[in-house]
Amino acid sequence: MEKKKIVLGVIGSDCHAVGNKILDYSLTDAGFKVVNIGVLSPQEDFINAALETSAEAIFVSSLYGHGEIDCKGLREKCDEAGLNNILLYVGGNIVVGKQEWKDVEKRFLDMGFDRVYPPGTSAEKGISDLREDLGKRG
């Protein structure tokens, strides 16, 4: 069976590289083909990488607090680019400061993300959700 492709990157002007390296390692280890566009990546880079590789999912990380501004419109741009229904996950420290998680999650779900992760989520959690979501799609 061919490996499923996942685009991985840290969005916006965000330089936090450690989680990205760990996710790359863990996703690869779990049998996925990881297309890692690294830190400091604009929305366009995520979309181009997904188009080029026909990826099944995009893992967006945002650590530095600007996640809300940086992620706005990503789903719409994916749709425009023809990446219909591509799985969009986001995690890290996606908002500024300590906020009520329920509200934060809702804001990002409303933006069109399929899964939204609070700080400190393990790579394994993302991977098992991914397996479940991909399984549903067959």
């Binding site: 330089c15 830190v39 600007h66």
Partner: protein, 482 residues
């Protein structure tokens, strides 16, 4: 390459300056002569360099938080809370991440959105957008020295604006604010831009105004071995001194083994002073900064207080001139002003209880200092050699060849070949040494230390160890045992 480690001529400086100031409309506000007059009126207790020097002489450790919000009035409120309620000795202004990439137009969006949303939509204070006027408003509304803390590869315009704004310290450097913070900026470019920032401080010094500069010691904050961090501190100190900087604070981020951390601060201070002397910079005041644990924090606030307090104890026992304070919100997000103040209070309590106490000299401590110095010297020697005696050339080539190599850095100009891991006592050692030019003794030492742990844990030395170590503190331990 053309860049050399030589004081920028006035001609070149003022030419470059013209380009810098047009980077954003607020650049027009900077009038150097007027700024000199303004800075001459800064009282001793609000001059960063002076306050540090006095603390060094008194043998006490000062506490400084990180903090910055987008809007001026909120920022002033925040700083005053940290000073008055928290008891901070030195004040920061953490600059937002758009400014760090010189995206001042995006900053404007962030400012506007923050006003609209009624909450901070940015992770710092966009000093360039607020201009000299805004910076002075902040300076005049607080009672302690101010420093810009950021992560900006090209901080030239920022430096112009903050110093003219009365802020008497700027954190960063050509290595430390590039490699951990950027992906595509060449080392040559950032070294050149920071030469400018240093020269600006040197210019002020010639007018009798001492401004402090602080290389960012912790780098990626993630298991950086002491000697590698110290190398970058020494290099940035030497480069700054060449441009005429007279007050330099070299730094180091806590690794977690008490003896190694104290040794690192001692080695850092002694080596920086030695190198400065050796290269003829005799009148530079060197102080040190110890950063409380810079890696992933535990989410639980009580545990975070434990990490914060342990870091404070280490800073005091090491005799660092200041300590940079984390907060109980660290793992989650930018702290509220209350959470930030509580981090300072815990820190100061520990500093006060340990005032005057030092880790006594011992064989273990001396051996660790010697090892750190030996490792550092290997890298420094090779760097000078690569540059044929020129430190800028050597540094650029050092990164090219992986002689200088920062673990987990995002920069594509960094080799990324070394890999650290903790030994059985939690000290950070080199597990993969890449192209770092160590002697056989040093290589053997690092290996032996890691094998001790491997044996204890009944597993091979492997990248899994490093990963386990990265998560360990967040999970409540220092060493990532299986």
């Amino acid at each position: 390459m053309n860049l050399k480690n030589k004081r920028i001529s006035d001609e070149d400086f003022f030419k470059e300056r013209e380009e810098v100031l047009v980077g954003w409309p607020t650049g027009k506000e900077v009038d150097l002569q007027e700024a000199v007059d303004y800075l001459k009126k800064v009282p001793v207790e609000k001059n960063f360099a002076k306050v540090l020097e006095n603390a060094k002489n008194a043998g006490i450790t000062l506490a400084q938080p990180r903090a910055g919000v987008p809007l001026i009035d909120k920022h002033i409120e925040l700083l005053n809370h940290l000073s008055k309620e928290g008891g901070a000795d030195l004040l920061p202004s953490t600059i937002d991440a758009y400014s760090r990439l010189n995206r001042y137009a995006e900053c404007q969006v962030g400012i506007d959105e923050s006003i609209k949303a009624g909450r901070a939509m940015m992770n710092g204070f966009p000093a360039v957008n607020h201009g000299v006027k805004g910076c002075r408003e902040v300076y005049e509304s607080v009672d302690k020295p101010l420093q810009a803390r950021h992560g900006t590869p090209d901080s030239r315009l920022l430096a112009e604006i903050i110093h003219a704004g009365g802020w008497t310290s700027n954190e960063g450097g050509g290595i430390s604010y590039n490699v951990p913070y950027a992906k595509d900026v060449s080392i040559e470019k950032s070294l050149s831009d920071w030469m400018y920032c240093d020269r600006l401080v040197g210019f002020y010094a010639e007018q009798g105004i001492i401004i402090n500069r602080e290389p960012f010691g912790p780098l990626t904050g993630t298991l950086v071995p002491p000697s590698m961090a110290i190398v970058t501190g020494i290099i940035e100190a030497l480069l700054a001194a060449e441009q005429g900087v007279k007050s330099i604070t070299v730094g180091f981020g806590q690794c977690g083994n008490l003896v190694q951390d104290v040794a690192a601060i001692r080695a850092l201070e002694e080596l920086t002073e030695e190198y400065l002397k050796e290269y003829g910079y005799d009148d530079v005041v060197v102080t040190t900064v110890f950063h409380q644990w810079m890696g992933g924090f535990p989410e639980d606030e009580a545990k975070a207080f434990g990490v914060i307090s342990f870091g404070s104890a280490t800073a005091a026992l090491a005799g660092a001139t200041k300590v940079i304070v984390k907060t109980p919100h660290e793992a989650i997000g930018i702290p509220t002003k209350e959470a930030n103040a509580s981090g300072i209070k815990a820190t100061k309590m520990v500093l006060n209880m340990l005032e005057g106490q030092r880790l006594p000299s011992s064989k273990a401590l001396e051996a660790e200092i010697e090892m750190i110095k030996a490792e550092t010297k290997c890298i420094m020697d090779k760097t000078f050699e690569l540059g044929n005696g020129d430190l800028i050339v050597g540094t650029v080539k050092g990164f090219e060849t992986g002689v200088i190599d920062i673990p987990f850095a995002p920069s594509k100009y960094n080799a990324g070949k070394i890999m650290p891991a903790r030994d059985n006592n939690g000290a950070v050692r080199y597990f993969m040494t890449g192209n770092v030019p160590f002697t056989k003794d040093i290589l053997d030492f690092n290996k032996a230390k890691l094998e001790e742990r491997a044996k204890f844990e009944k597993r091979e030395i492997s990248f899994q160890m490093t990963i386990d170590d990265i998560f360990a503190v967040g999970k409540g331990k220092l060493i990532g045992r299986p």
